[in-house]
């Protein structure tokens, strides 16, 4: 690590801020959808539980949103402060996309968030629901734009480099670059899955603690019902993403698999489960491999139809470094994906056997503990995935077009070292504070005595029909 090298320091700073920033929008994008679901169920059924769920989880939402904004602003400005030559070369496309993200997505989320959080008593329920939908929609639209921009860095399309500047010929081709669709979906399901397991994990904690079991078995089941679809789809999306890496970014695939020698087309390759890559010797010091498995993993057939290139195909300066990091980050990510799917299957099985009812759910101690254990795993998988994606892209900032060394600003290393150190300190404070205040919100728990909008008697929540939508059903049916 060279602390007098601006490029190295700028990379570290970008990686640090990105890794920290990532932690918070994950929950706001995924949980946004969850909030739309529970508020919709509240409007439909008028069961106060759903309203209280919306209020409780939105507390965690806003905590995450605030830190997400705070930690995200440096990301945008770093393109200018630390990566000025990159900004100049790619402004036509990359800058436009950041502008779209701000104007279409982020502004929508920020503009309606106030109404979603504080507008319960001030606007009509339908307008409130609209605001909630806009917040969730805005957050998820951010995924689209950010992932479109990042995918373009992986597979730059829609134009060409002219005199060191990327000239766009076709914007739609650039936005819809080869990596875009699958990357957006992979990230969308990643945030959703992570949020579902966070909500499920926190709910499991309450149930284990014998606090509001009935209330939280409801959120656990909503999370579970959604995860039934999401967890397997995400594994499939992950497979599709790996497949596109195989086709478009052979250097990254070689690093993900710690593969040094090329396997020619028509042959079958071993797949290593664990390995110890040695960059100096250009080989793995040792490995555990499953013979002939690589073809099945990449193409669902024994023999490869295309060659899998080994790292030795490229000169050392043209291939990603930190092969071990990329290799293990990839394994951690996929391992977590399978683990969460297994947990989901196990839970569904218990649900079908009638073991998750409000009266007997507390007996499922191991299942609930596993859900708690699973709560942070999505985050780890996402961070690992982004390490694979962006460290694996090196030495390129724009794959095959602009090298990272040429993309960095010529600012004094001491400036970057100072800002990097400050970021490290400040983000650590943020992280600890967020954990502290987040767990505090959880410890305090939901306020079940909140007045229910539209119901005049504040204490007897289940008696009076709602003001806005008169409920004609018998009292029992309203529960």
């Amino acid at each position: 690590m060279d602390l007098s090298n601006t490029v190295v320091l700028s990379r570290m700073q970008f990686a640090l801020t990105a890794i920290f920033h990532m932690l918070w929008p994950v929950l706001t994008t995924g949980m946004g959808i969850y909030l739309v679901i529970v508020e919709g169920m509240w409007l439909k059924t008028r069961n106060p539980d759903y309203y209280l769920h919306a209020r409780f989880w939105s507390k965690l939402y806003v905590l995450n949103f605030g830190i997400g904004v705070a930690s995200g602003i440096p990301m945008e400005f770093q393109f200018g402060t630390n990566w000025a030559p990159f900004a100049e070369a790619t402004g036509d496309f990359f800058g436009s996309i950041l502008g779209f993200e701000a104007s279409m997505a982020f502004m929508l989320e920020a503009g309606f968030l106030g109404i979603m959080l504080f507008g319960w008593e001030r606007v009509h329920p339908v307008i409130h629901y609209f605001a909630t939908i806009m917040v969730a929609f805005g957050a998820n639209l951010s995924i689209f734009w950010i992932l479109s921009a990042n995918s373009w860095l992986q597979t730059p399309a829609g134009g060409e480099m002219v005199n060191g500047k990327f000239v766009v010929h076709d914007y739609f081709q650039a936005i819809l670059n080869p990596f875009m669709a699958k990357s957006v979906l992979h990230m969308f399901f990643a945030t959703l899955e992570t949020s579902l397991f966070v909500i499920g994990g926190i709910s499991a904690w309450y149930i284990l603690k014998n606090r509001h079991q009935a209330f939280f078995s409801k959120s656990l089941k909503i999370a579970l019902a959604a995860a039934v679809a999401v967890a397997p789809i995400q594994i499939y999306m992950g497979h599709l993403s790996a497949e596109q890496v195989y086709h478009y970014q052979p250097t990254k695939l070689a690093a993900m698999e710690a593969r040094w020698e090329t396997i020619p087309a028509g042959e079958s390759g071993d797949w290593t489960v664990i390995a110890l890559p040695n960059e100096k010797a250009q080989k793995n010091d040792w490995e555990i491999a499953i013979p002939k498995a690589l073809g099945y993993i990449l193409e669902f057939k024994p023999k490869l139809s295309e060659p899998v290139l080994g790292l030795k195909e490229w000169k050392p300066e043209d291939r990603p470094h930190m092969v071990g990091l990329i290799y293990y980050a990839f394994r951690i990510m996929s391992g977590i994906g399978f683990f969460l799917a297994t947990l989901m299957l196990w839970s569904v099985l218990q649900w079908l056997r009638g073991k998750l009812g409000a009266e007997n759910i507390t007996q499922q101690r191991w299942l609930l503990r596993t859900w708690m254990f699973a709560a942070p795993l999505g985050y780890i998988a996402i961070e690992a995935g982004w390490i694979v994606r962006c460290v694996g892209r090196q030495p390129w900032t724009v794959y095959g077009q602009i090298r990272t060394v040429d993309a960095a600003s010529h600012v004094p290393a001491s400036n970057v070292l100072t800002s990097l150190t400050s970021f490290a300190v400040v983000y650590t404070i943020l992280f600890i504070s967020a954990m502290y205040f987040g767990s505090r919100i959880i410890r305090i728990g939901p306020n079940l005595n909140l007045p229910i909008p539209g119901i005049e008697d504040e204490t007897a929540v289940d008696t009076t029909p709602a003001e806005f939508v008169p409920d004609q059903r018998p009292v029992e049916a309203q529960q």
């Binding site: 507390k59 830190i67 602003i73 502008g99 279409m104 503009g111 968030l113 504080f118 914007y171």
Partner: protein, 337 residues
């Protein structure tokens, strides 16, 4: 085609000016309230100050994010050059904004609010200071080579001209923050901020006069532009109008009006902004790089207008709607959901 290449950068110059103005106006009062919170001595008061912003601060700050993205897209050269030249003030602003933003969330949940009070106030001050230095040094000039790349040194941004602009901007933020609080609060708090508004009017005025005098005296390039017929009439009109507006503002403060001071302040901001815009145009890095040199390709500018342009009225609409929903006085210091 020639006309288009002239016209599009101008359109984007105006759009960016609009974004920047909306940001300075909206986050200006946010930051001003933050700075004023440093003078508040009890927690209930600070709670009310923060509640008055609780539901709007993130939308207000988004205009900065939008401005950054649009500048990056429309004038990539200027984006890279200005930001790398102003590394320290920009990072200062970023850290200030971080502290301020998280203080909103953490203070509400915290039992020991002291640290987060400080983070909110000092963060607001630091962010304003960073912005002031950035604005000041862009106006004072950035050294670039013929390709438009920054060739100066780390501390170029720090000089008496940028200090003057930075201090004036902070005064301006305190002024708009005070008049916002006059509108949003009542009782003792309102009286206090009527007083801070009067002080800030005076200090802002002094700063503005110094800037107005020093600009033609110390900047040769600007001087020749300012004293050129017929522009001189426009440039002479701006300080006169400015004095008029400040007089109106002061009178409305004397009469203890509730909303008028805020509106007069906005008009003063708008006027200063138009003045700055006229002085800067057609440069984006004054007297070095014009908007035409720094602009992205025409196709990019058109593409961005199609996507962002039609959203501007929609964004304005729902932002205004949000202010309508939360209109009225703030009396309570709790904003948690």
């Amino acid at each position: 085609m020639e006309a288009l290449e002239h016209f599009l950068p101008q359109v984007w110059f105006v759009i960016l000016a609009l974004f920047l103005f909306l940001y300075v106006m909206l986050d200006g009062f946010d930051l001003g309230v933050g700075i004023l919170s440093l003078t508040s001595d009890d927690d209930d008061r600070r709670g009310i100050l923060m509640t008055s912003l609780g539901n709007v601060w993130d939308a207000n700050e988004t205009w900065l994010v939008l401005m950054g993205g649009a500048l990056f897209g429309a004038f990539p050269l200027a984006y890279g050059t200005i930001l790398s030249a102003l590394y320290i003030p920009i990072m200062g602003m970023v850290f200030g904004l971080i502290f301020r933003a998280v203080a909103f969330e953490f203070r509400e949940h915290s039992n020991r609010k002291y640290f987060w009070n400080l983070a909110f106030g000092a963060g607001s001050f630091l962010a304003s200071l960073g912005q002031g230095f950035a604005l000041g040094s862009v106006l004072a000039g950035i050294s670039v080579d013929e390709a438009g790349h920054f060739i100066g040194t780390t501390w170029d941004w720090l000089n008496w001209k940028s200090i003057l602009v930075a201090l004036t901007l902070i005064q301006g933020y305190v002024l708009i923050g005070s008049t916002y609080l006059i509108m949003k609060t009542d009782g003792e708090l309102q009286t206090t901020h009527n007083r801070t508004a009067k002080i800030a009017t005076l200090t802002t005025l002094i700063g503005a006069i110094l800037i107005t005098i020093s600009t033609p005296v110390f900047y040769e390039n600007t001087r020749s532009r300012l004293f050129h017929q017929p522009e001189i009439y426009i440039f002479a009109l701006i300080p006169i109008l400015g004095i008029l507006l400040i007089w109106q503002l002061f009178r409305s403060l004397q009469r203890q009006e509730e909303r008028a001071p805020f509106i007069w302040t906005i008009l003063i901001f708008l006027l200063s902004f138009i003045g700055l815009g006229l002085i800067v145009f057609p440069y984006i890095i004054p007297t070095q790089i014009t908007i035409y040199q720094a602009a992205a390709s025409s196709s990019a500018l058109v593409f961005m207008i199609i996507f962002i342009g039609f959203l501007i009225p929609i964004m304005l609409f729902y932002n205004v709607y949000q202010y309508i929903v939360f209109r009225g006085k703030v009396t309570e210091g709790h904003y948690g959901g």
